[in-house]
Symmetry: C2
Subunit: 196 residues, 2 copies
């Protein structure tokens, strides 16, 4: 079970600045999904924006376009198998939350498991992740149609205080490092911190 | 001195897939520059495309808009101080190549130091980096003006074969790992490789 505290919006870009692979969660009218995305990045500091590529073939694409919302969840190394699974299976065929046991930390208007604050968007926050960015799509139909590229405002951000606080990551152990997907089931963990 | 071999274009996304911080090099009519960018990502596999954020205030922005070209250079940990320096100094005030000793591996039509193949774009390849993506801007004025967001086709890709070959990174030592910028001079090295 993860705990979470709010990350001030001007610091939210730091949750993605080092380029981790994320899980994109989405929901619309009783349907929900989660997929992996290696292609996301910050787009602005304050107010924070993000960019993420969401393929036309995915259920996530349908739910994000219908709802105008998604959450970027930053998974940990111990969630790498889950990340790979939600990145290779389609939500059209199965409810990935039930099949893969991806727990929900929080859903819209309904904080779960003692969390004090509910989500601002309809997409669920995935339990066990290190950080969460709640996003509202900035409609840019040309980018979406031609490049599968979605731009969004970050409307709320959260982190597990054991791994991120005061604008800094401080991974407490190997299992709770963020991860970076390469290809073919191979990842890198986020490695040593150092000052230049 | 780095050596380099061509990376097949369908594998070029793997040079950026794990989210490293890059150096953006550019040139136009006798002027040249290099800056750091933490905000870049692949945008497509084949033919490969990339997205990168380039602030309006930078000389790089001027040179990229004028030339329609840039190179994304993937720096190593031993280039972290250089990365920080080119990310905090302006090319309008100084030639960063001369001031910071950023060597050139290759310039357009003129392979340097025994490299067999010249660059396809006018922007220089920075010596000592791990990999290079030569890019041609896809003109998208709305994205550029509103979001500082540049989309580009990758027209050639290269890697140092000691760190990347056959579509895989295999960092030979700590000094030649790729890096991921956080903020305030702090980086992460790319860490352990593992299979999910």
């Amino acid at each position: 079970m993860s705990s979470r505290v709010a990350v001030p919006l001007p610091k939210a870009y730091r949750l993605l600045n080092h380029g981790p692979t994320v899980l994109v969660s989405s929901a619309h009218v009783g349907r929900r999904n989660v997929m992996a995305a290696a292609w996301s990045m910050p787009l602005d500091f304050d107010l924070p924006k993000v960019a993420v590529v969401i393929d036309k073939a995915t259920l996530t694409r349908e739910l994000v376009e219908a709802s105008g919302e998604f959450v970027l969840n930053v998974p940990s190394r111990q969630q790498a198998a889950l990340t790979l699974a939600v990145g290779t299976q389609s939500g059209r065929e199965t409810d990935k939350f039930e099949k893969l046991g991806a727990g929900l930390l929080c859903v819209h208007g309904n904080p779960l498991r003692g969390q004090a604050t509910a989500s601002m968007v309809g997409a669920p926050l995935i339990e066990g992740c290190l950080a969460w960015l709640e996003c509202r799509v900035i409609p840019e139909p040309h980018n979406q149609q031609r490049y599968d590229l979605f731009l969004a405002k970050v409307v709320a951000a959260w982190a597990d205080p054991e791994v991120f606080s005061n604008g800094r990551w401080h991974f407490p152990d190997e299992a709770r490092r963020s991860i970076h997907y390469l290809a073919g089931g191979s990842f890198f963990a986020t490695g040593d911190a150092f000052e230049a």
